[in-house]
Amino acid sequence: MNRKYMNPYLAGFLLGLVLLLTFYITGRGLGASGAVKSTVIFAVDKISHQHAQESGYYSQFISDDAHPLNTWLVFEVLGVLAGAFLSGAIAGRLNFKVEHGPRITSRTRLAMAVLGGLMFGLGSQLGRGCTSGAALSGMASLSLAGFITMLAIFGSGYVYAYFFRKLWLK
């Protein structure tokens, strides 16, 4: 049975409560791109330990006692995967497929996805956080950085939208 999506305001309200609970228990907000950063560091450390030690950037995150993947965000993202799987299972949305705009082939879609992901990875490190970490949690804690990042992401998104409308619209 393919149930429709949850009412957006209810979902927003529940997400707000989850975020509030996160602040209440751990004192920090949600996040996502940090987990990928930890995996990158773990991979680089494994592949060429020597390179990782030398570079100023990697060495910050590598210490003998703590395993690079043993961070809050990695566990949180594992939870996200599990939670999404659960919700997808209940709503019957589990199947392997490529979703793409009507006017492009799935091959272009996949290429765009990789390019988009690359951009997002780069941007999230530069902006110290992604939409859920810097923007959403930042806005909740009323930090200036949160609002700047949110406006930059969605503002620039609206500017680019026109040029890439072929990707999404009929």
């Binding site: 949850m6 009412n7 305001y9 209810l10 309200f13 529940l14 409560l17 751990t26 004192g27 920090r28 907000g29 949600l30 996040g31 996502a32 791109s33 940090g34 965000l73 999230s124 110290r128 956080g129 992604c130 859920s132 970490g133 810097a134 949690s137 930042g138």
Partner: protein, 209 residues
């Protein structure tokens, strides 16, 4: 669509939780009746003291409602205290029943006079009780030690500690010169003024994404 109904229920529950939290927190911890600025004005006000003569006069004249409060420890209190004084050791002043008693005196406009061994022992509690909202309260000049000697004429006893404590009892400049120094004490030679700079509020918790 049944989902807005769930939204309404949870939103209402959330609002209720917050309101109960707010009400609960109001009476839990005792609040200050005076802001820091008002407390400063009270601290600067000069009529916070009662001279032994006035106290003695008030105690004899039963028309004036006056209640001395001894803030020393019970042992000193038993050794000797001012006539009708009740004993509430300083660090128990804010306990529930003591505070209720003091507030009752305040409501019946009974003038409470705090005293300790010396004036400064009663001065702190006076300022704290003022901040918590007790107005009709004063401090006995000189404290119990000075009260016992109870000179007939207050001004002629400069030597007793606690008598007008804030007055300079010596002309410091002249005293310095009499010992062979300049008027001002010599500062250590390389003594540059220590000026601390405003501390930046640093972030306590790490986080972000």
């Amino acid at each position: 669509m049944k989902q807005p109904k769930i939204l309404i229920i949870i939103a209402a529950a959330f609002a209720l939780m917050i309101i109960t939290g707010l009400l609960g927190s109001r009476d839990r911890e005792m609040d200050y009746a005076l802001s820091p600025q008002q407390t400063l004005e009270t601290a600067l006000s000069s009529e916070s003291e009662v001279f032994p003569e006035e106290l003695a006069g008030m105690l004899e004249n039963d028309k004036i409602k006056c209640q001395p409060v001894d803030v020393r420890n019970p042992y000193d209190y038993l050794e000797g205290h001012i006539g009708p004084a009740i004993n509430i050791p300083a660090n128990t002043l804010l306990q529930k029943d003591n505070l209720r008693l003091l507030k009752k005196f305040d409501r019946d406009s009974v003038l409470m006079v705090l005293y300790g061994n010396d004036q400064s022992q009663a001065d702190y509690p006076w300022l704290i009780l003022k901040q918590v909202g007790i107005n009709n309260i004063k401090v006995l000049t000189g404290g119990f030690a000075y009260y016992i000697t109870r000179p007939q004429d207050v001004d002629d006893m400069p030597g007793i500690p606690g008598h007008l404590p804030e007055e300079p009892r010596y002309d410091f400049g002249k005293l310095m010169e009499s010992i062979g120094g300049e008027k001002q004490p010599r500062a250590p030679d390389a003594y540059e003024m220590v000026i601390p700079v405003r501390r930046k509020k640093e972030n306590k918790v790490d986080g972000g994404c």
